[in-house]
């Protein structure tokens, strides 16, 4: 396969592999917990990158897919006693269906109007779920501790979710590479550059946009189920946190939107930076303000992100930094 001969592909995949294998090698719970978050953000950011970086549509409330997937998966886990894998698939399916429905309607909007609509949808979904009795209303749902026995105890369940997340992160990275190199991906990039011109050249923009939206929604839906399975309970406020949505955008921007490696580096870098700011005594109180300052500096001076910046500065590296 052509893909396997690309150095850029291997660089990104090996990076994720190395990070993900850190926990099973050290067998340390601390490493596992921090790498779980890093891998989750890698997968979320890379998924978002498909609609944001490739297609150029700013999905500001992208966390709605994470939240809805989490809720649907959690419903099957806790109320219907399904096991994790099929429940997670249901979560992903629900997110994909929502994206398909939305894609047919709101992707007609362009620029800031689209961004605003996605914020509105996230808030509407949060408000709706708060009122739905079957999802537990404002207090949400929780898993009984005995559920974890099915997976060989709580520790074992944590490892299972970890490996599932690891696998998902790898899938997303491979997926974003495949999409980028495909004819479909080329269509998406041309929509980003000039949608009208792309349509004149024969790109079926509405269909392509909708599929890219669906692709970028599936994995966050599955991740939602995994995350809340591990968490043990789910509430509307945790599931549809707009702030998390924006943080994911920051990760994509930090690494470089539209590149495969960028979101991976951005997610890992942002997670580490936040961890540092939260634990460092000098920055602890003002961690949000410093994170904001860092974001401002990136947006104002390095809008292409780390990978984008390196690609313009060092053209020779372009083959490696995809």
């Amino acid at each position: 396969m052509n893909l396997l001969r690309q150095p850029g592909f291997w660089l990104t995949v090996l990076l994720v592999l190395a990070g993900g294998l850190l926990a099973p090698i050290t067998q340390s719970a601390t490493v596992r917990e921090s790498m779980f978050l890093v891998l989750m953000f890698v997968a979320l950011a890379s998924s978002l990158n498909i609609i944001l970086g490739y297609t150029g549509y700013v999905s500001f409330g992208h966390i709605v897919f994470f939240g809805l997937g989490g809720y649907v998966g959690f419903y099957f886990l806790s109320q219907q006693s399904w096991s994790l894998a099929p429940a997670a698939l249901m979560g992903g399916l629900a997110a994909a269906l929502l994206a398909l429905l939305l894609g047919l309607s709101i992707l007609r909007l362009r620029g800031a109007y689209f961004a605003l609509a996605t914020i509105g949808i996230n808030e509407a979904m949060r408000a709706l779920i708060t009122n739905l009795k079957i999802f537990g209303g404002p207090t949400g749902m929780s898993l009984h501790f005995s559920v974890y026995q099915e997976y060989g105890g709580a520790t074992q369940a944590l490892w299972i979710t970890y490996f599932a997340m690891f696998g998902l992160a790898l899938v997303v990275v491979v997926l974003s590479f495949v999409v980028k190199k495909s004819k479909f991906g080329l269509g998406l990039v041309s929509i980003r550059e000039d949608e009208d011109a792309a349509m004149v050249m024969g790109v079926r923009a509405p269909r392509a946009k909708t599929w890219s939206f669906v692709l970028s929604a599936v994995i966050p839906g599955i991740i939602g189920t995994l995350f809340f399975f591990k968490n043990g309970n789910i509430e509307p406020g945790d599931a549809f946190r707009l702030h998390l949505s924006i943080e994911t955008i920051v990760m994509v921007m930090l690494g470089g939107q539209g590149t495969v490696l960028g979101p991976v580096l951005g997610a890992a870098g942002y997670e580490r930076l936040r961890g540092f700011l939260l634990t460092n005594p000098t920055f602890k109180d003002l961690q949000l303000a410093f994170a904001g300052l860092a974001l401002l500096i990136i947006v104002l001076f390095v809008p292409a992100g780390v990978v984008g910046w390196l690609r313009t500065r060092l053209p020779r590296l372009r083959r490696v930094l995809e």
Binding site: L52, G56, V58, F60, S105, I106, R108, L109, G111, A112, Y113, A115, L116, A117, I119, G120, I121, E123, A124, R126, A127, L128, T130, N131, P138, I246, I249, V250, M253, Q257, D285, L286, Q287, L288, A289, F290, A291, G292, L293, L295, L296, V299, L300, P303
Partner: protein, 287 residues
Amino acid sequence: MLEQLIPSLVDGLLIGFVYGVAAMGLTLIWGVMRVINLAHGPIIALGMFGVYVLFNDGLGLNPYVSLPIVGAAGVLFGIVIYSIAVHRVINAPHLSSLLATFAVSMIIIGVGTSRLTTNVYTVGLDLGSVTIGPITVTVTRLVAAGVSVFVAAGLYLFLYRTSTGKAIRAVANNRSAAELMGIPSSRVLALSFGLGTMLAVIAGGLISTIFPFRILSGGAYELKSFVIGVLGGLGNPLGALVGGLILGGLEGLIPVFMPTTWVPVFEFGLFVLILLVRPSGLFGARQ
């Protein structure tokens, strides 16, 4: 039902005027420079604390007296934000300005939380209430609505009766043409951002006389401003006032028929619907 409905509706409509002023700030900035100001909510919260500090910390300044002071500080603050964070990305894709203003919001919230904590504050201004026929309303709410109308009228006169206002409308209409006519567009943009910020802090100041608040309270009003801005047509300040009344009316009406928690479902449902059916707003934006 009716004796419940009318007071609730009146309360909602009165607060709707204040929502309208907050949304005017957002929509003015969008109309002039096509920037969605994601720092709008924290700026509203700053307005609340501005009034609080001048009233409760030693000075004892009446909130209605301190409102112009807070407003003037708001203009300056807005100009500073524009110069530092927005000016460089004014012609960049939307994502850049969205993230730049979001970064400002993170900075305000970060500094605010470390200085003020996330505790709930109240201004503690009690002016009693008046009864007209079957309706009883608190005076603070009545005055807040009155001040909002006054501010909206002032903005209208400024935009349509002064030469600076004309320059702002010209830049909103076509920036390059305005520059060719010798209008200093950077200064006009900075001033517009300042005015938008001023409207936000004034709305915040008025809300602080009615409801308890904390540094994170602005977020809810920011989302309301989005809804109102889209209802009235983004970029149409006077449409925002009508949008505010519609939203306030809904907030008064819905709780009479079903639990209050359904209010946001309707608000955001309406928001998405309007965006889909008529992105230019109910009245069409005046470009």
